[in-house]
Structures are given as structure tokens and as C-alpha cells.
Amino acid sequence: MSETKRYEPWKDRDMTKVRPYGDTFDDGMIQLSFSIPVPPGEEAAEAARQLVTQMGLHEPAVVHQHDLGEDFTFVVMYAKTKAMIDYTKIKVAKVDSPRMSFYEINEYIKEQIGRKITIIGACTGTDAHTVGIDAIMNMKGYNGEYGLERYPMVEAYNLGAQVENEEMVAKAIELNADAILVSQVVTQKDVHIPNLAQLVELLEAEGLREKLILICGGPRLGHELALELGYDAGFGPGTLAPDVASFVVQELVKRGLK
């Protein structure tokens, strides 16, 4: 009896030509959902299809629409893309140093640095949304991980919201900080960019930049943007205290800032 060969194209997939998987392998199918300011109906569906075609997608199909009232419609649809990505050529900025646990980090500080380290954090500029910095700094932490205030070998200072860059630099001098964490959550019109850039410039002018680890974080920040701004790292959504602390302590040792 001959064995029928199972159809498993993903087994020898070509990583240089990667497309989304919808119903079948390599079909390029994408789900989209959005609201458009037109009343629901056939015209709304056609408007959505035309819009998606203009984006370069093909075979657009509206599978659901919902009346939002006030002549607005929410649309869910599928469409296909012919675009593909060479996964083997992708290089992203990321933290290579291993992530350690709460206990490992404190132990590492004791052994490798031999003193408590000081980390200050704040939401700077006009930003009053402390949810990010609190998740990293607060005693109770977030998602099962203690915040930096709980770390016996870390002196953590959460300066809160709407902290001016000058205030941040003043605290860094006063407390002789080893690391600065800047959180930027609300970033309309990219206000976070000049604000983050100014902090680096102030630190350079005060002669502090090379003496500390400078980190930014927030939903619209990443390591690449951080690098571009002159920060050592930029942590995005989902970051927890050990991610940040592991990077800080290993970077301190690597740069000889003990």
C-alpha cells in the first residue's frame, strides 16, 4: 500500500519569500478592520473594497459591517497581498544580553558591581501617563514581576509625571544615578521626539551622558528609534522590570561603570 504524501508546504518553506497565511499556505490573505465615515450599506462595502484595492491589495471581500450610528460604519474584510518579505535579510535592533530573574539580577549586582545601583524614572515633558513607568518601577510591579522599588540592590526613584528634562538632569546629578528611564506614552504629533532628544543634549552638555545608561520606553518606542536618538535602549510594549534591569546591570558592567 502506497502511503499518500501529506500536503505540508510549510515544512520546506522558503524564508526568503514570506507572505501572510490566511486559509491556505502562502495565500497572502490579510484581515483588515476599520471605521469609515459613511452610512452602512452596499455603498459602504464598495467604498471599503475600493480603498483596499488602492492600497495595492487584491480580491477584497467585506465579511462584516456594523452601523456605528451618526452615518459611520465599521467594516471587517479580507484581501490578499502579492508582497513578500525576505526574512533572512531582516535585522532589528534588540537587546542581546540575557534576561535574568529578580534574584539573579540582585545577585549579579552584588557580585559584579558590589554596591547598590541607582535608577531614576519618570514621564517627561507634557506626558502625564505613568502607567508604563509605574509598571517598571512600582513595588507591586506588573504581570507577576516585582517593580524596581522591590529590588534590594536597586535604589529606585519614580519621579512621576510631567517631569521637565532639567528636573530629570538635576535628579541624576543629585542622586548620582547609574541609569535614567524615560517613559513617553502620549506621543501625539511626535512631541516625544524633541523632548527625548533634548534630554540627551542636556546630559551631554552637563558631561553626564557617558557616565550613565539612558533608556526610553513607551508604546511607540523601540530600540531602533532609541539608537537614532542617542539612547542605549528603547523598550516597547510588554516590557517588565527584569527586562530593563537585566539590560541596565549588564550594560553597566560592559561599559565599566561600576
Partner: protein, 347 residues
């Protein structure tokens, strides 16, 4: 032509600083690279930030490529060293790491595009430039990031090429006005030698020094206890000699609106002296107010401006009239400054 100005000044290290992101720094640098290559210079190229070959990290718009000639030295991170079309060979490690891998010095074996990334702060730039010069580079270009001025510091480079453009404002008049203010910062008057010595002392002590006049033209330096205006008002410092004696405040660090406000109530003619314009953070309003009170802001080291490039295209999706823009910017910054439409020249 801006390159000629650099050559005439015998500058070996030049910074490229933009008045805003996407003002045309990379285009300006490419123009300098091409002129310098034609003149047979051995180039060293370093970027503070991320340059070339990739999409902008915020807007997702494509950024211009950086083209490098054969024999040039570049500094970049290991993960992206092979991203461009240029063929590079690693010469040595810089000893710095980044989130894109360890940073290397590499020589261009076959010309093409490169991605420059990984160098982040002044101390690293300084070390990289020294290595490049040791390896034979006789003209080093330092591309700044966003509107960061740090690359222009006289401790790093011998002068600067500024880049402005339509991205700064949607009208010709506003671009000209904002560019003029930016250029003004590079024209801060230079302190005379004896006042400059007060700043040298402040830098040596890493703090602030007050100058009190003695005799005809001498200065009695008083070193303040607090090292930075960020943590204390100089006027409340235990060593503050009093408003009647103090005539100069030399600041090793940054001069901000807050510092100007602290000393602006002193008798007319007070002088704040700082290292150079990269330490000057005052806003236009605070600076003007300070000057109106009869005070002065002086620098120890001037930053030489070789020229200003103008880019009529904005990434926001509009273009300003090319000739009108260049003319308006030239009129606003004054005739002595070389203004060049780099793209227009290439076209």
C-alpha cells in the same frame, strides 16, 4: 560651494547638523562626500543615530542612502554592516556595543551604500574619530541625529555644515525665520581671553566659576561649591561673592532658561560665559529678555559654520518654491553665510 570653504579652513573634522529631522542632513553629507572624493580626500564617516538604507523609525518614510567611495572608513554596528551595496572589510572593533551589535570600523572595498548605526554619544564619537585619523582618514564627517547639536562641539569637530529645509515650516517666510534663529546660536560672541580663562577654570573643576573684577582688567575667580545650575541657584551658593562684586558667571555645563532667569535680576552688564553653543539651551524668548536687561551670553570657543544647505522638499508631502526659499533663507541669515540648495545643484 561648501566643500571649498571646508578645504580653505583646513578643517579635518566636520559635523553636519540639521535644524530639524529630515531637513536634509544626509543629502548634504552625500554632496560633501562626493566633492571630497573628487578632491582625493581620504574620508572617515560616522553617524550619531541611524543613517542610510532604512526607513525612518517614526514615519516609515524612506531615508536617503549614504554613498561611500572606495577607501573610506566607516563606523557601524555588526548586524547592519552588510546591509548596504558597498563591500566593507572590518579593520578593527571600537569596543562599543549597541542594540544592533558591536560597533566596528570598516574600510570600503567596493563603493556603494552603507547603513551607519550604533555610535550614540560624544565620548564614543571622539574615540572613533581618533581611530579613523590614526588609520589615515584626513577628512572626517560626523552626521548628527534629529536636531541634536552635539556633533558641532569644538571638542569633537572643527566646524559645522547646517541643514534646513521645508520640513521646518510650511511657508518660505517661516522656514527663513526659524533658520535665522538657529544660525544665530552659532554666532554667539566670543569671550575675551581673560574672561575665557574663567570658563577654563570652570571646565577644569567641572562646575561654575564667578568672576569678580580686580584692578584694571583682571578677574578674581570664585569657584562655587555647587557644580551645576541644575541643582542649585548660583546666587544662593555659599561661595557667591554678592551681586555687587560678581560680574561674570562661567558655566561648564548647560545654560538653560532657568539659569538665565536666576541671574537676570543682577545689575546690568552681567555676563554668562559657556563653552560653546552646544551648551546653550535657552529659548529665543528667554535669551532676548536676558539681552534686553543689558546682559550678555558669550562663548569660549566659536563654532565655525561652513555653510547652510536648503532642502525645498518636506517629507510631510509638500515642496516650497526652490529659488524663493534659498533666497529668503539667504536674506534671513545674512550674506556672509554660504547658502546652498544641495539638491538643486545636483539636478
Amino acid at each position: 560651494m561648501i566643500y571649498r570653504a571646508i578645504q580653505q579652513a583646513n578643517a579635518r573634522r566636520v559635523a553636519i547638523v540639521g535644524i530639524a529631522k529630515h531637513a536634509g542632513k544626509t543629502t548634504a553629507m552625500n554632496s560633501l562626500i562626493s566633492d571630497a572624493t573628487a578632491a582625493g580626500r581620504r574620508l572617515g564617516i560616522v553617524s550619531i543615530g541611524v543613517d542610510g538604507e532604512r526607513r525612518d523609525a517614526i514615519m516609515g518614510v524612506p531615508k536617503p542612502d549614504v554613498y561611500v567611495p572606495i577607501g573610506a572608513l566607516v563606523a557601524s554596528a555588526g548586524d547592519v554592516l552588510n546591509t548596504g551595496s558597498a563591500v566593507l572589510s572590518i579593520v578593527e572593533s571600537t569596543g562599543y556595543s549597541s542594540t544592533l551589535g558591536d560597533v566596528y570600523l570598516a574600510r570600503v572595498e567596493r563603493p556603494g551604500t552603507v547603513l551607519l548605526a550604533g555610535v550614540r554619544y560624544a565620548a564614543q564619537v571622539h574615540a572613533v574619530l581618533e581611530k579613523m585619523e590614526r588609520l589615515g582618514a584626513d577628512l572626517c564627517l560626523v552626521d548628527g541625529a534629529f536636531d541634536r547639536m552635539m556633533a558641532a562641539s569644538p571638542e569633537l569637530t572643527h566646524g559645522v555644515v547646517l541643514a534646513t529645509g521645508a520640513v521646518v515650516a510650511p511657508t518660505v517666510e517661516d522656514v527663513a525665520r526659524k533658520s535665522a534663529f538657529f544660525v544665530q546660536r552659532f554666532a554667539l560672541p566670543v569671550a575675551e581671553e581673560r574672561v575665557g580663562h574663567l570658563l577654563d577654570l570652570a571646565v577644569a573643576r567641572g562646575g561654575m566659576v564667578v568672576g569678580c573684577p580686580v584692578g584694571e582688567s583682571g578677574w578674581d575667580p570664585v569657584v562655587l561649591e555647587r557644580t551645576s545650575s541644575f541643582v542649585a541657584n548660583p546666587l544662593t551658593d555659599p561661595m557667591w561673592p554678592g551681586a555687587d562684586r560678581a560680574r561674570v558667571l562661567a558655566v561648564a555645563g548647560a545654560v538653560t532658561d532657568r539659569l538665565l532667569a536666576m541671574v537676570e535680576g543682577l545689575p546690568r552688564g552681567f555676563v554668562v560665559v559657556l563653552s560653546d553653543t552646544t551648551h546653550f539651551f535657552a529659548t529665543q524668548q528667554a535669551w532676548r529678555k536676558f539681552l534686553r536687561r543689558g546682559h550678555q551670553v558669550l562663548v569660549r570657543c566659536p563654532v565655525r559654520v561652513f555653510g547652510l544647505t536648503v532642502n525645498p522638499h518636506s517629507v510631510a508631502g509638500y515642496d516650497l518654491p526652490r529659488h524663493q526659499l534659498a533666497a529668503a533663507v539667504q536674506a534671513a541669515v545674512g550674506a556672509e553665510l554660504l547658502v546652498q540648495d544641495v539638491q538643486g545643484e545636483e539636478a
